[in-house]
Point group: C2
Amino acid sequence: MKIFLAQQNYHIGNFESNTDKIIDAVRKAKLENGDLIVFSELCVCGYPPRDFLYFDDFIKKSIQAIHKIKKEAIGIAVLIGAPQRNTVSKGKDLFNAAYFLNDGEIQQVVQKTCLPTYDVFDENRYFEPASDWNVIHFKGKKIAITICEDIWNLGENPLYTICPMDKLFIQQPDFMINISASPFDYTHQSDRTEVVKSNVVKYGIPMFYCNAVGSQTEIVFDGSSLVFDKNGILCGSMASFKEDLQAFILNADGSINSPYKQETKTQLDPAVNQTALIPDLNIELIYEALILGIKDYFFKMGFKKAIIGSSGGIDSAVTLALAVEALGNENVTAVLMPSQFSSNHSVSDAVALSKNLKNPYHTISIQKINDAFLEELAPFFEGTNSGVAEENIQSRSRGNLLMAIANKFGFVLLNTSNKSELSTGYGTLYGDMAGGLSVLGDCYKLQVYALARYINRNDEVIPKNILLKEPSAELRPNQKDSDSLPDYQILDSLLYQYIELAKGPEEIKATGFNADLVDRVLRMVNMNEYKRNQFCPIIRISPKAFGVGRRMPIVGKYLS
Amino acid sequence: MKIFLAQQNYHIGNFESNTDKIIDAVRKAKLENGDLIVFSELCVCGYPPRDFLYFDDFIKKSIQAIHKIKKEAIGIAVLIGAPQRNTVSKGKDLFNAAYFLNDGEIQQVVQKTCLPTYDVFDENRYFEPASDWNVIHFKGKKIAITICEDIWNLGENPLYTICPMDKLFIQQPDFMINISASPFDYTHQSDRTEVVKSNVVKYGIPMFYCNAVGSQTEIVFDGSSLVFDKNGILCGSMASFKEDLQAFILNADGSINSPYKQETKTQLDPAVNQTALIPDLNIELIYEALILGIKDYFFKMGFKKAIIGSSGGIDSAVTLALAVEALGNENVTAVLMPSQFSSNHSVSDAVALSKNLKNPYHTISIQKINDAFLEELAPFFEGTNSGVAEENIQSRSRGNLLMAIANKFGFVLLNTSNKSELSTGYGTLYGDMAGGLSVLGDCYKLQVYALARYINRNDEVIPKNILLKEPSAELRPNQKDSDSLPDYQILDSLLYQYIELAKGPEEIKATGFNADLVDRVLRMVNMNEYKRNQFCPIIRISPKAFGVGRRMPIVGKYLS
């Protein structure tokens, strides 16, 4: 049996382009005598559709698309993911379903059982879990079809009370197919390979695992679809961070051969059971994820050009280099906005960077603007000491300038804040926190440096001085990040314990951190929830990014 | 049996103050010979605790609080809500539970079955549903205890497959207690009364319904706890929007008498099955909810003073009047920031308003600041027509001024945007969309006018001219909202169909709206998701507010 896996990049709600893409792959597979072609979870509408699912019109359009696709399922079977109406009156009104299309008809529909409702996932918000389980009969074989999370219910403390593969296994399937929309994070590729393999080992039959690819606002799907034979031998590993279509021959004895040459994959760092932040961990994958995140945000939003405030610091340098890689040097405008507090190297380093990257750059002074603000505010501020308010005016003046140029020319402002700053609230709302998309908001400062080293792996793209100089916001004379924040080596690993590992203050102190520092940092994190709440989407590369995957009360008083 | 209902306002994560508050009520009830005192859902940690629940430290602190409270449960039984660890290895690690404390011990714990996971609720994210059901035996009576949503699984299309009261009813309980954290919206009070009554009618036993009160960031809990006797007669109706403690005597025959005089309640408008926006619907309740929303945001965040940009328009006028009512006139500073495009009445109306409200106000010109921006941007903008970019500069200069004053003096900037603007993207990010809390972001323009009329019910607080003049952003000469937007009578009812009722374009067109207008407005709503995504929390007064209760993809292409 010749089985194609179609790893595609969908556009949420864009039924026309998604359907065209699916039909295109079906036709290709048919031309190459495929028996079956498999697509990813909710491919018809794109994943995650979120509250669009509440619109009956959205479901209707999805059903119309299925009917269009099923007409192509002649001479080849097609497995697609789409929402299905629940016709039973009790429970939620939808299922997250896989449609098996054959002979121009919907032969069978299977429903997802394990509905992820944690981190960035909200599936229980929309879907009712499956309550019966049946293999699909096709060309003399029995196929056990599951959807994404369905195969993850393993280990000593499984999240769900029902394991759907156990239910399906009773019917003695010949092989498994899992259709997924499994997002990237720097630990997830290796976890995922382990999980797929564990299922193959547990049930002793081959697995065809088809994942989505592409970035959806903040969530990056990396593809990396997998095929294992019944012995648990990896015999198919598809592209990461790009679309791919591959065929695999499943032999009668359960062995698999692929007519396509497998892509050579980077060896993954073993990330399981990680207890400390490793800034360099899978940095190449993080780089690729960020590039795809930028690319897809612009493409899917219909934008081409970006603007970035270039300060001569490491964060804006890395953001600029990533944006140039993603969008092309001619499409990324850097704006240098020095003030009286900027050091000389701020401008010279930023200029050197843009010369290396060959992207347009401009300099605008904020001096007169800042003076105008201070002049108008003088009657109010009289007798007060210059402080955070005055520093923020500078930052917001820069934000206003960048947004003005963005609005004028239809650019998108890329934000340059990193995760260490966002965690501690070391940033100005509507100032350096402005922007349509945050590139580095899920990368701690040490990871930003690791990215810079990776970007410089062949040539010096980011001037060495930017990597060497001490971080500073340059909003007052001789300001340094270290005036307000602990050393990033300490800060980042402390933040990692709290944010990624959800450890409490006592647990963190027990690992050797200074008790006062732990209390102070955790308090900073919790008190600044209100700032992050107004922040733009952050390209997610870690298991716990700020944004939709981390939901905290603003008006709370816990460790704050 | 003398049963106290304690309707209290908790602070999320503030175990100390919550515990003190609970113990204080227990002692009061004991002094008055109460047999049982009932508190609301998750009262120990505050509702909704959101992702704090992922922290083992948070759960530990909650358990410590329970142990402190149980020592008070001597001579009186105490029913409190708190998370409970799930000791079964399968499923989520927590339950949403009710602890029945008696004789200084935890006598029994019951778990919530129906876990709301829609709109602002995420309970399936954290909790495993109950899988067995037992009444509690107390002083010769059997009590059926449920938690909030557990009694809502009614009607022809119930959301959950299990109805916990049906399970409990098998054990022949004598009466029901429901502990809730049921938020306000302008339809919800009447819905809730109906639901509680329906349960009483269905099971034929009395119900003691104890709700939380207080605002938690964006969600306002209105209290309004209820008691029905076994005949479905309302015999207890507690305060709305404030704390309350009342005792009710449950007689052996199932009749109830209350030693306290019941508060006279406003007759609720029947809001069920509402198919069109009714701007005046329960406007007094909306007013109360907004006042409490402002009050609690400031109190729980530790702030006292607000700043508001006062434009002479209806939105800032209503925001200012509400803020003065909530915080006191001396605590609300109005800032007038006219430009060359401001009409004369903008300033005079804003001044008249602040004179009526007796709150401090100041005028700052944005002219020089705006000129400084335009001067610096001139080399870039040369040859372009003045447009949205230039308009936004004005709006962002105002935002920057307001934030500067707020930062300098520790004020919170209150946002003045309304729901009609937020829906259509008729606002400037980091400009008039700036602020820490949105007061009117869940009120359509017509509701803002209704609020103004309500505020003026006795005296002319908001100058008549503000109510009469045509709405304008005043960012270019003779600009009117109606240049860009349809008439608010049409716009608001169209938006209501789409946002509150989740109707699709064809359904809305079928109700008589112009087809092109529907397409244009829905496109505006969906294209501006990116702006709302960066907006501050909005006090929720409708069944579908922007923010945590409405989760839309940004990078999508649906009706856009």
